[in-house]
Symmetry: C2
Subunit: 129 residues, 2 copies
DNA sequence: CAAATATATGAGCAATCGTTCATATGTTAT
DNA sequence: ATAACATATGAACGATTGCTCATATATTTG
């Protein structure tokens, strides 16, 4: 192993102008218990991000930023078929990114929590560079 | 449009016990200039998250949490072929998630900034629920 | 220069993904 | 019950993805 380990990483982080990364790094390393997490957890993590990795799903999430919407309105807003939207809403729901509420014939979807907003926001920050 | 708009969202957020989401929401809405961002930006955002949406790439990023590593060591650490790792490092590099440094025959890869750490960390937080 | 080592890359293939189309399920109104 | 509307879902198909294998490029050493 030629890899530079542990303390050097912390040293590098400490020597940067922006110290905000250090706390997050420590939190993550603590969370990881100083080891690469078990395969299963990394698999879940990849699966989680995979859901964000599709333009249609991102557009749905952005549409829901402004409040809950029913399926047909989302479809109309994105100029896509009801079926396509419904399929993707299922993916989003399985990943717990959205939840739904039925009101008669129509089903309203909304973001399941505002964790999602900060993840989207952080992604946007990164690509604007 | 049956969608609930704007102020209602803010109202909902204000009425939650945890107020931490509001600031982030406002930041994002401000960033979006109160509109769904142009298709191109959402496309880029999806592309960005897509990179995190693969188990091998996540494992590489986690390996690099502890410091820079050369290609063959990453391959050994993850029990994968050098070629597979090299292909994925290219994807990670194109997405600006890693950068590399050549030292003789060997090429060392490292995380390009600690933004990535906080994104990983935030993802882990979400799946641990 | 040739050999050895580390990395990068192109072609090909199996698997996964996102959409469409047809159809099923669920709800309301007549 | 029947019709109308909203949503969900299964099959199928084209596109994309991640790996393997073979080979190319780059660097060091003899």
């Amino acid at each position: 192993m030629k890899a530079v380990i542990d303390e050097n990483v912390l040293h590098d982080l400490c020597c940067e102008e922006d110290h905000s990364g250090l706390k997050e790094h420590m939190a993550l390393v603590k969370k990881l218990n100083n080891e690469i997490p078990p395969e299963e957890e990394l698999f879940d993590l990849a699966d989680f991000f995979k859901v964000f990795g599709d333009c249609t799903r991102i557009r749905i999430l952005c549409a829901l930023l402004y409040g809950e919407m029913c399926v047909c309105d989302i479809a109309q807003a994105l100029s896509m078929t009801q079926s396509a939207i419904s399929h993707q809403l299922r993916v989003l729901k399985q990943a717990a990114l959205v939840r739904s509420r039925r009101e008669g014939k129509t089903v309203y979807y909304m973001l399941s929590d505002d964790h999602i907003i900060s993840i989207l926001s952080q992604g946007l920050e990164h690509i604007e560079e």
